[in-house]
């Protein structure tokens, strides 16, 4: 899959090289005699990875679906007169590809519109987790001492709570929608990123080039941005990309249990839950949203996996 003869192969494994982050600047103009950097190398790597390409196309498609579902269907699940009970449980036909659910609502329309909540939860949760986790991780790593101890113990408390179980507990007392689900999942999901960030800072802050930068008069902010973050960002992005898919499935699980997104909001988890009662009688009502959910989670995990391979060849 990956061209192991790439020039920069050896270099990329050494993410601690001082010049690595800035190398990308030099890499751009020299196309033929490309100087390898972590990022340019990773990009090249990804472009040649079919797993990434398939995943990325699917993700892109999903983003469009979530942003403008109207492009793909003329109906809307929020139209109060869209569902006609006489269509109840009708099987797929040429005009209604996914058939109808028990209430006589078009399954295709609902499946398309439900993508939005999944994408919102995936992206919002991941963003929040990255922000909170890396922010606190940076502080803990840099400041050290007492602050580090307090933050680390605090993190361990959250780390000990299983995401789904904790999510069920908190959600049962909240009004469920995509945003509350995101916040709850993020509340329980950030410790992982915190740990990666903190260890990355600890690893790097005593390196010679950091010392040198400090000796040259660089401030804490500059050192963080120029030297610490670039070295920590790769593993954080990898974990973030993979967990995006996991958060989407967590939302579906919560909604399936009736404590995630609430009607009239729509979610694949909710659709599967509604259809599961009579899935032997009308399997299509269950299969289409379930398939949509599986493909979405798969797409995000494929992308995350490929990014990890590209950024962190050590893992292969």
């Amino acid at each position: 899959m990956r061209d192991t003869t790439t020039v920069g192969d050896e270099l990329t494994t050494d993410t601690q090289t001082a010049g690595a982050p800035s190398a990308s600047k030099h890499a751009k103009p020299a196309k033929k005699e490309r100087e390898a950097s972590l990022w340019s190398d990773a990009m090249g790597d990804l472009r040649r990875n079919p797993v990434f390409i398939i995943g990325a196309v699917l993700v892109l498609f999903l983003l469009v679906l979530a942003a403008v579902p109207g492009l793909f269907t003329s109906g809307s699940p929020f139209d109060a007169t869209a569902c006609k009970l006489q269509d109840s449980l009708k099987t797929p036909s040429s005009s209604h590809w996914f058939g109808y659910d028990i209430q006589g609502c078009d399954v295709y329309t609902r499946t398309v519109w439900a993508a939005r909540n999944s994408v919102i939860v995936g992206i919002t949760t991941t963003t929040l987790v990255l922000l909170v986790g890396s922010g606190l991780g940076l502080i803990a790593g840099w400041v050290g001492g007492f602050v580090d101890s307090v933050l680390s113990r605090f993190t361990e408390i959250f780390f000990a709570i299983p995401v789904l179980l904790g999510g069920m507990l908190i959600m049962s007392g909240l009004q469920g929608n995509a945003w509350t689900v995101s916040v709850v999942l993020a509340t329980l999901g950030w410790p992982q990123i915190f740990r990666i960030m903190r260890s990355s800072v600890l690893q790097n802050k005593n390196n010679d080039y950091v010392m040198a930068a400090r000796a040259l008069g660089a401030g804490t902010w500059r050192i963080t941005v120029r030297h610490i973050l670039p070295n920590a960002v790769a593993p954080v992005i990898v974990v973030g990309a993979i967990s995006l898919g996991v958060y989407i499935s967590a939302e579906a699980a919560l909604s399936y249990l009736g404590i995630g997104v609430q009607p009239p909001g729509i979610s694949w988890g909710l659709m599967v839950s509604d259809a599961s009662v009579r899935w032997l009688q009308a399997p299509h009502v269950l299969l289409f949203p379930a398939a949509a959910l599986s493909v979405t989670v798969l797409a995000f995990i494929m992308v995350g996996d490929a990014v990890r391979d590209a950024l962190d060849p050590k893992l292969r």
Binding site: F78, A80, S88, L280
Partner: protein, 542 residues
């Protein structure tokens, strides 16, 4: 108020639970328990088989075979006919003299006397015996002494029951209640033999009654074998040799056994099988309304729903609900669209009327829109339906009702659903009068009487009047009906009262819940009574 005041809601919930989990893995022997023996699905009774303690279907099945009371509801017409009673006389609709027929005895040869009834009723009413059906005796003078709200009673008998001679006893009621004799068909009023009191544990292991069957053997968790009692003195002798009740924990297993010929009778056909039931059984499938009605009750204590003129809006909402489509699509015809506030299981004679609700229960979007506009529109432009969603398919039918209303009115999502996670929470909000929109009410009648469908639910201040409906005219008619000594006239007066409900629409009748049963080719003459229990004694085995 009169009639039963106990929590029928809870009983209903229990019934649903039982239906869902009913019955246990009996897969022994097969359908042919012997010549003339009917094998039937069963579930372990919830309570010991004391007549005054049994308020669910599984125990009720056995009691219906083991006991005959003063009256018995005709399985076909629902009419309360004299059984052990020779005559029940009254001059004032409050004091009754009951005379027993000659020749009745228990299967242990003990004669059925007035004392058998009085002892049984006192036992049922005594708070120390913790009988579920105790409230059935609450109309009798002295009940409050035997069943005080707190503390131990100082007496062992109700002063309203007096034995005159072995064949006669008198009953004094607290208030006038003309149709009280009609309630005596309920199993709680069964007579009990002396052995019930002297050897209680032994009796529970092998109950002895005065009905057409005797208990041959009973193993908890497995089943019960009942055999026809040859010396049964009544006119409704068993038409078969006996009944083997087999415990199933899953009705689907029972149904499979029926199809494969290992079982003769399954009552309560599981929902999952409904799609193929016509194919499997054809006309050996019974599906008929039970004494259960589902309604949407309006919170009339909330002025935005209760104020003058809102009755038009309430009627309008009723007309926006497509009952036919919902019972067909959501319930697969296991519900029957409602046409009044009682149940067809009462029979026309008992007070059911297919025209009581009239147009107000017929789906008509245009008329619905017009009525709601004339009444000043929905309060705040919207309506929210509330129910617990942990059992039944409450969420689904509420969504369907809302869709129907939204489709009919065409004003966007004006109807929404407020799902409540647990039955207990819903009950609290309902009995605390906290709900601000129409809410689900299910009502299972204890005896096939129109009184039981109207008075506890709509009489001012009645125990289950959760919408706080109050109408002097309605109350007056109910009082009048209760004082009426002629049963037919009483029923007609109740129906007059029901007409006020049709005008005022304090609750929207939605549908009647059906009882169902399927049976094998071996047996015939299978019918369900008003309580959706098979009438075993009439079943013939070929």
């Amino acid at each position: 108020m009169r009639g039963a005041t106990h929590a029928k809601w809870a009983a209903c919930a229990v019934a649903v639970t039982l239906a869902a989990t009913a019955c246990g893995g009996g897969s022994d022997s097969g359908g042919d328990g012997g010549a003339g023996i009917v094998s039937s699905s069963w579930g372990d009774p919830q309570n010991p088989l004391e007549p005054a303690n049994t308020n669910e279907v599984q125990g009720g099945k056995v009691l219906d075979m083991l006991f005959r009371g003063l009256k018995r509801y005709d399985p076909k017409t629902g009419e309360a006919k004299d059984m052990v009673a020779e005559k029940i006389e009254t001059t004032d609709s409050q004091n009754f003299t009951i005379t027993l027929k000659d020749g009745w005895k228990f299967s242990n040869d003990e004669p059925v006397t007035a004392q058998s009834f009085v002892d049984a009723w006192n036992y049922g009413a005594d708070v120390r015996n913790k009988q579920n059906n105790a409230p059935f005796f609450s109309d009798i003078v002295g009940y409050d002494d035997l069943h005080p709200k707190s503390g131990d009673p100082k007496t062992k008998t109700m002063s309203g029951l007096v034995v005159k001679d072995p064949k006669t006893f008198t009953v004094a009621l607290k208030e006038k209640f003309s149709t009280w004799p009609e309630t005596l068909g309920y199993q709680a009023f069964s007579p009990l033999p002396k052995s019930f009191f002297t050897d209680h544990a032994g009796w529970l292991n092998k109950p002895v009654g005065n009905g057409p069957y005797t208990v041959d053997s009973y193993t908890k968790g497995t089943g019960m074998k009942l055999r026809a009692w040859d010396a049964y003195p009544g006119t409704d002798k068993a038409q078969n040799g006996g009944v083997d009740l087999k415990v199933y924990t899953d009705n689907n297993t029972a149904y499979t056994d029926l199809i494969s010929g290992n079982l003769d009778l399954v009552d309560d056909v599981p929902a999952q099988q409904l799609k193929s039931v016509q194919n499997d059984l054809g006309d050996r499938y019974i599906n008929q309304p039970a004494l259960i009605i589902q309604t949407l009750t309006f919170p009339l204590y909330d002025p935005q729903w209760g104020k003058e003129g809102m009755e038009k809006v309430r009627r309008g909402i009723s007309r926006a609900i497509n009952r036919d489509e919902i019972t067909k699509q959501i319930f697969r015809d296991t519900r029957t669209p409602a046409k009044d506030w009682t149940s067809p299981a009462l029979g026309e004679q008992g007070g059911f009327s297919a025209t009581a609700c009239g147009d107000a229960c017929v789906y008509d979007p245009a008329e619905a829109k017009k009525l709601i506009q004339e009444g000043g529109g929905l309060p705040g432009g919207k309506v929210t339906l509330t129910s617990n969603v942990d059992t039944g398919s409450h969420r689904e039918w509420m969504d369907a009702v809302c869709n129907s209303i939204n489709n009919a009115l065409g004003e966007g999502p004006v109807c929404t659903v407020n799902p409540i996670g647990t039955f207990a929470d819903f009950r609290n909000q309902q009995s605390g009068f906290k709900l601000t929109g129409p809410f689900r009410s299910g009502w299972q009648a204890d005896y096939p009487l129109i009184q039981n469908f109207l008075e506890p639910l709509y009489y001012t201040g009645a125990s289950s009047n959760y919408g706080k409906f109050s109408n002097p005219e309605f109350d007056k008619l109910v009082d009048q009906a209760n004082q009426e000594s002629d049963a037919a006239k009483a029923t007609a007066t109740f129906q007059d009262a029901e007409k006020i409900l049709a005008e005022q629409m304090p609750s929207i009748p939605l549908w009647y819940q059906n009882g169902s049963a399927g049976y094998s080719e071996r047996i015939s003459d299978v019918t369900l009574n008003q309580f959706s229990v098979p009438v075993y004694d009439q079943i013939k085995v070929s």
